[in-house]
């Protein structure tokens, strides 16, 4: 296949062009970042449509574009379970989460949970959960970027990971949230435009009828490609994965942060609507991209380049649009990863500096310049750690890692967040225990799952049968929160709920 594994001038030109463009935007934005409020929330000046696209940009990661297209191409219908699962979390966010979060007007997930509970323990527990989610998500992006660059530009994997880390550092360090908001918007536009163009080029070969394409895939690899298959051989595991994908969205710290960047609850609500529309459209395109790669490129050619199938979309681009189009799609995929990484890094920096340093270590007595300095140091620390982990986790499956990040988010963050908004009897003990149990039970069960024990460590069998632990850890986390809150009621926490309830509409 043209360009795969060897340096490609057109691809490199597109790549360098995008980096230059976005660094330019970052530089312009950095001259307007003067306060912490700007650094984290872009001064609440983002419109609903902009914020919707930025949410979509933050959300659609390497797993969405490279991972799902690859899964559909190599496994058929099973890959679509990811497409659908990644979308259905969004209506839930719209109905339950977006408005209360905006009404509370806080920076981070921990701010919301800590609002009426005891600050220090809640912030420490929330930070642990958030950082675990961010770490798994970041590693997945680093691994995806490393593989992409290695395959398309001929650079060594390690060098590619370092490049992603350094560019991410520059974005976040100098621009803060304004820069990353613009990066997300540009990236969302590029990704939607690129995927649409690619889909149209594919569909043109099938009379613009997706069913003819799906049928061609069924003709070539059997009707099994249109039905649930080997990925969901264990029904309980399928339910567990589905649950984690749906509820995880509402617990992703970098997504939750985006609701503080708009002016009011109504704008927050509308922006989630735009995001849901854009993301749903994109996931419908993955049906065409995945089956298109199956038919036009062929499963053997895809898995020969990368066993995980992650190169299906770029290979499809080369097949239908030639080398220049391959370069374009490669640049889009890289931009996608870079933008998600920047959003994750910013959210991690906010957790470390705002939640842990300002509110726990310094107990709130920090001037703005110190807070910004700590946020910047935190970003550097995160970049170095994620570069290191990205190199160590070389060869991991991207979609699998993101699925695990969702399981942690759904178990550690989602129960505490929802209960703190809707249930006034939630106590500090209940919330903290739920977040800690959610984080540690998920990570522990992942360790004992067949994926780590059998696939990676090559043991005979695994102690825990499910590959995604969501079905066990999400109810467990809810049960711990509710049980401990009922066992030891706390009047103080309850009274504060009455005063600080986020459920009232923001009438200003």
């Amino acid at each position: 296949m043209a360009g795969a594994g060897s340096p490609n001038l057109v691809a490199i030109a597109f790549f360098v062009g995008f980096i230059a463009l976005s660094l330019g935007i970052t530089w312009v934005a950095s001259r307007r970042t003067h306060s912490t409020d700007h650094f984290y929330t872009a001064g609440r000046s983002v419109t609903a449509f902009q914020n919707g696209l930025a949410l979509a940009g933050d959300y659609m990661s390497a797993a969405s574009f490279l991972g799902i297209a690859g899964l559909v191409a190599t496994s058929g219908f099973d890959g679509l379970i990811y497409s659908i699962g990644f979308l259905v979390g969004w209506p839930i966010v719209t109905f339950l989460i977006a408005e209360p979060l905006r009404n509370l007007g806080r920076y981070t997930f921990a701010d919301v949970v800590a609002l009426r509970l005891r600050q220090v323990p809640v912030r420490i527990a929330a930070a642990l959960g958030s950082l675990a989610v961010i770490a798994f998500y970041l590693i997945a992006q680093m691994v995806g970027a490393g593989n992409l660059i290695r395959l398309l530009f001929g650079l060594p994997y390690e060098a590619a990971v370092v490049i992603v880390g350094v560019v991410m550092l520059v974005y976040v360090l100098f621009g803060g949230m304004i820069a990353t908001t613009w990066v997300q918007i540009i990236k969302a536009g590029l990704l939607l435009g690129g995927a649409t163009l690619l889909s149209l080029l594919v569909l043109a070969r099938f009379g613009f009828n997706p069913l003819v394409l799906f049928d061609a895939a069924a003709q070539r690899y059997g009707e099994g490609v249109l039905a649930p298959g080997r990925l969901v051989s264990d029904p309980i595991d399928a339910v567990s994965l589905g649950l984690a994908l749906m509820l995880g969205t509402a617990g992703l710290p970098h997504i939750l942060m985006r609701f503080y960047t708009v002016a009011d609850a109504q704008t927050a609500r509308s922006s989630v609507g735009y995001a849901t529309a854009a993301i749903g459209f994109f996931y419908l395109l993955t049906f065409v991209l995945g089956f298109g790669a199956t038919v036009i490129v062929g499963r053997d050619a895809i898995t020969k380049i990368d066993a995980g199938g992650n190169m299906a979309a770029p290979l499809l681009a080369a097949a239908v649009g030639g080398t220049p189009f391959l370069g374009f799609i490669a640049a889009v995929a890289f931009a996608t990863i870079l933008a998600v990484v920047a959003g994750l890094a910013l959210s991690g920096a906010a957790t470390l500096s705002h939640d842990l340093w300002v509110n726990v270590v310094r107990q709130g007595h920090v001037d703005e310049s110190e807070q910004l300095a700590v946020a910047r140091v935190a970003t550097v620390v995160l970049a170095v750690i994620s570069i290191g982990l990205g190199v160590i986790f070389k060869g991991q499956n991207v979609a699998f890692m993101v699925g695990l990040a969702f399981a942690i988010a759904a178990s550690a963050n989602f129960p505490a967040l929802v209960l703190s908004i809707f249930w006034k009897r939630l106590t500090t003990t209940g919330a903290v225990a739920s977040m800690l149990v959610g984080t540690f039970s998920t990570v522990t069960l992942i360790w004992f799952s067949p994926t780590i024990q059998v696939d990676i460590l090559k043991h005979e069998s695994a102690w825990f049968p499910l590959r995604n632990p969501g079905l066990v850890t999400i109810p467990l986390s809810f049960a711990v929160a509710v049980g401990l809150s009922l066992l030891r009621p706390a009047n103080r926490d309850e009274q504060l709920f009455e005063r600080a309830t986020p459920l009232d509409v923001g009438v200003k």
Binding site: L87, V88, V239
Partner: protein, 97 residues
């Protein structure tokens, strides 16, 4: 006081709707996942060449997610406008806010 009660009533109506819609979405999606997990033959049945029950239901789940979100945003924005009207009327009546 009357205005405040009316406002609280609308706010409560919003949360009832939001929670009902969440349950609808959960039911649709969990139903789909249960079919994927426990009734593979049904989802694999081909309706017309290229279109299996599974793919049709998958597209429908995405469609339902879109539709519910769109409807809720329209409904809630209209509700907010109503709440603001009441708030303004309240402010004019009592001389505060």
């Amino acid at each position: 006081m009357e205005h405040e009660q009316e406002q609280e009533g609308l706010s409560a109506a919003r949360w009832r709707t939001a929670i009902s819609l969440t349950l609808v979405m959960l039911a649709v999606y969990v139903g789909f996942i249960l079919l994927v997990a426990f009734n593979k033959p049904l989802l694999g049945r081909v309706i017309v060449p290229g279109l299996s029950v599974g793919i049709l239901l998958g597209v429908l789940v995405i469609g339902v997610a879109w539709l519910l979100t769109w409807w809720y945003i329209r409904w809630a924005n209209a509700l907010d406008a109503g709440i603001r009207r009441i708030a303004r009327a309240g402010a004019a009546g009592t001389g505060r806010r």
